[in-house]
């Protein structure tokens, strides 16, 4: 028994250590996994926990998963995908338990908002159910991009000028898919200081899309000639707002001024149940090295503070449409998706079960 316990502990610690190491290495080096890679990384380790760890019942499993999730989130609190995936898996566990427990569809809403169930009954086949559902979830992550790009030809018309900011894998695929049936012109804003707009322009150009590269300062100037704006985002907040890369707010604001429709293409695992209370709240923004903005070699100023924020909050009234892999939605509907994806008890992973 003691040996088995030790094995458990060491297994979990190994896995955790590995995953923490990978995530924190990324944070320190500034290299970022794409959200998809991060999501799959986390999912794989959670699967391993479900498969290999010993747990007696759903309550136990939930507790283990929550603890694991808490530690992962602490590595980089601004990386919301980690928390989202953990919460999805927790919801999967809860739903499967209820399904098995109640013997019928778990979608039946109980009349008290917080179910009285304590998830304590042990079921033998729960493990298989959970693993199956996690597999489905993994497939969803894999096919998210395809599902989004399939909606392209309905949303873009022939001969339109489309503006996008910086580089986003999702938007790139979306535009390439649109190109197959429509002729479009794309204006790419270069997105200082990372200048990933350059790469985006290059990729789009190689796909034979007529592309124009402009500076960040030209966003408002050029918005009058743009038919649609398509953005990617880092996460979607619970009120339907965006946590997008810095610069997106200017684009969204200008689009609103000119009444240009703004579409945000994003897979649904980027949806997080957190609210933004203030843009400098802990865990919302992170400041990158000022070296990117002003090289230390160019001069040293004692009196100057050089700021390089990574994220921007775009409030929901500036975003008319989300293109999720589960379909198109308006920001006011995001709360509904939230309740389908996550369980309210899991919103705050720091609290206790």
């Amino acid at each position: 028994m003691a040996v088995a316990l030790q094995k458990q502990v060491s297994l979990r610690d190994n896995m955790l250590a590995n995953l923490e190491a990978t995530l924190s290495a990324n944070v320190k080096s500034g290299r970022q996994n794409t959200s998809q890679e991060t999501a799959k990384l986390v999912l794989r380790s959670l699967t391993a926990i479900v498969k290999d760890k010993e747990w007696k019942n759903a309550q136990d499993l939930l507790r283990i998963l929550r603890d694991f999730g808490k530690r992962l989130i602490e590595v980089d609190p601004t990386e919301t995908v980690v928390g989202n995936v953990v919460r999805r898996v927790l919801k999967i566990v809860r739903d499967d338990y209820l399904r098995v427990h109640l013997g019928h569809s778990a979608d039946q809403k109980l009349l008290l908002p917080h179910a009285v169930d304590d998830y304590a009954t042990a079921y033998v086949d729960l493990k298989d159910h959970v693993l199956e559902s996690i597999d489905e979830f993994e497939q969803e992550i894999d096919y998210a991009l395809d599902n989004i790009t399939q909606q392209a030809d309905r949303l873009i018309n022939d001969g339109e000028v489309i503006l996008t900011y910086g580089k986003s894998r999702t938007v790139e695929a979306f535009l390439k898919a649109a190109k197959e049936t429509r002729s479009i012109t794309v204006v790419v804003v270069e997105g200082a200081p990372k200048y990933d707009g350059h790469e985006m322009a290059r990729n789009l150009g190689n796909a034979n899309i007529a592309t124009t590269l402009v500076h960040d300062s030209a966003v408002f100037a050029i918005m009058g000639r743009v038919h649609k704006v398509i953005l990617g985002t880092h996460s979607v907040m619970a009120d339907g707002g965006l946590k997008a890369y810095s610069g997106a707010y200017s684009v969204a604001c200008a689009a609103k001024h000119y009444s240009v429709p703004l579409l945000v293409c994003t897979p649904v695992y980027k949806l997080t149940p957190q609210f933004v209370t203030s843009e400098d709240q802990v865990g919302f923004n992170k400041l990158e090295s000022p070296q990117e903005i002003y090289d230390f070699a160019d001069g040293d100023f004692d009196e100057a503070e050089i700021l390089n924020p990574t994220y921007d909050y775009v409030p929901p009234d500036l975003v008319p449409l989300f293109i999720f892999n589960v379909g198109g939605n308006s920001p006011s509907y995001v709360y509904r998706l939230l309740s389908e994806l996550y369980h309210p008890d899991d919103y705050d992973l720091k609290g206790d079960v």
């Binding site: 018309n157 022939d158 001969g159 339109e160 000028v161 429509r182 002729s183 012109t185 204006v187 270069e190 997105g191 200082a192 200081p193 200048y195 350059h198 790469e199 322009a201 290059r202 789009l204 150009g205 190689n206 034979n208 899309i209 007529a210 592309t211 124009t212 590269l213 402009v214 500076h215 960040d216 300062s217 030209a218 408002f220 100037a221 050029i222 009058g224 000639r225 038919h227 810095s246 707010y249 200017s250 604001c253 200008a254 001024h257 843009e279 923004n285 903005i293 002003y294 160019d298 001069g299 100023f301 004692d302 009196e303 100057a304 503070e305 050089i306 700021l307 390089n308 924020p309 921007d312």
Partner: protein, 494 residues
Amino acid sequence: MSKEKADKSAPVVNGMKPEDAEKARLKAERKAAFEAKRAAEQAADKDGAGKENKKELTKAERRAIQEAQRAKKAQEKKGPADSKDVKAEEKPAAKSGSTSDSPSKPEESPLGKKKDMPTKKVSFADMKFAANPFVNMHKRRDNIGNLFRSVDRRKKDDGGGEKRPSVHPAILQLGFQIADGAVSGANDRCVYMLEALKKLAQDFGSTESPELHDARELSQEFFSKMDFNVAFLKECRPLSVSMTNALRHIKLSMSEDESMKNASQLASTIIDNIDGFLQNEITLARRAIVEIAKSKIHDGDVVLTYARSSVVLDILTTCHDEGKRFSVVVVDSRPALKGRETLKTLCQKGIHCKYVFIHSVSYIMKEVTKVLLSADTLLANGYVASRVGSSQISMIAHKMNVPVLVCCETYKFSDKVLADCFAGNELGSQREFLQNLSEKRKQLLCTTLSSTVSLVDLTYDITPPDFVTMVVTERGTLPCTSVPVVLRVRQNII
């Protein structure tokens, strides 16, 4: 057709009386005859194109005829007139800007579906139709060599023998400086131009004969010389509103003179006029603006400014010298990154500064209490034309309820109106686009981009008056919409 006699015993069909039934039958027959005739006509029109799908073919045929007409017109008339026809025929759903595919449509077959791709790939900046807003913009040269060549060409064209006018060396030098970007900014360009014109006037005064002529004739002669020189400056870079207004002032000031003068007297009059303009409209105006604006800055203010503006620097340094305690946020943007000079100047003075790029303005704006910008010109409809990016900053400031102050001397006010920032704008050269990038990135942009990608570097943009709280001029503070009033006042004085 003989009518059937109404028979009492005739059955009532469909609830109708026999007479009514008769009328209905006749009507149906007439309708059938009409339909048959129409079908026959249509069949005749088709020229044997097949009867499978009547509607589609007819539509496609009509379209083919339209395309052929369009192509023909494109051959005959070149330029913007074309786009109007194209626009009119465009579907109402698509914006008029979506004519990008038109040049290649005639190549489609008449039965072509909507989804056929145009065979020629064009990028935004190269499109010839009005959809492309960059077509009529001045494009700055990639190297000064072009300018040299054009000057040489002029000399060659003039040929030998007769004395032909050539560009004055001072203007020549200034032209190259402006084209290269060594002299930039509305004020600086105007001042340097006036200084060069003073030299021109001096030379005019000393080389011409000392007889007395009618002042007007003499000034005409001088002005034609001046126009010739200014045309060269235009070639280097389109004149800013400040420059054109200054030139107009000089011409107007000489138009009233009816006395008899000789060349050197005329020259000295002109030089005095120019000096007066420089003193009143530029130097003293600057001082007045600084006086007024500094009263708007209080202790504890956080002032945001964009790129480099001499007016704003003057205001901030004066305030600091008088002991006011405030901090500054300097916003900068590529490609010129002029804000770094501002940062240097302010830091040397000991003012506490923050420095951000324009994409993170929304992050910093909540700390800001005032935005201080300068302008290239103020248009008669209240729009502020300034460096590209100012409108973005003003928009975000407006959204976050931060007052925006624009400082501009009244001589820069223009009586033109613009609806968008594309008319009269200038495109930077590729060299300018690549400024301030690391070598690696320059490589990426120069070598790996395919031909469908174009680089666009706008110079100016216009800010709507809703975003601007106040304009500070030497005559006081005004709302944006008062530009025509000021223009009228100026005209009366002059």
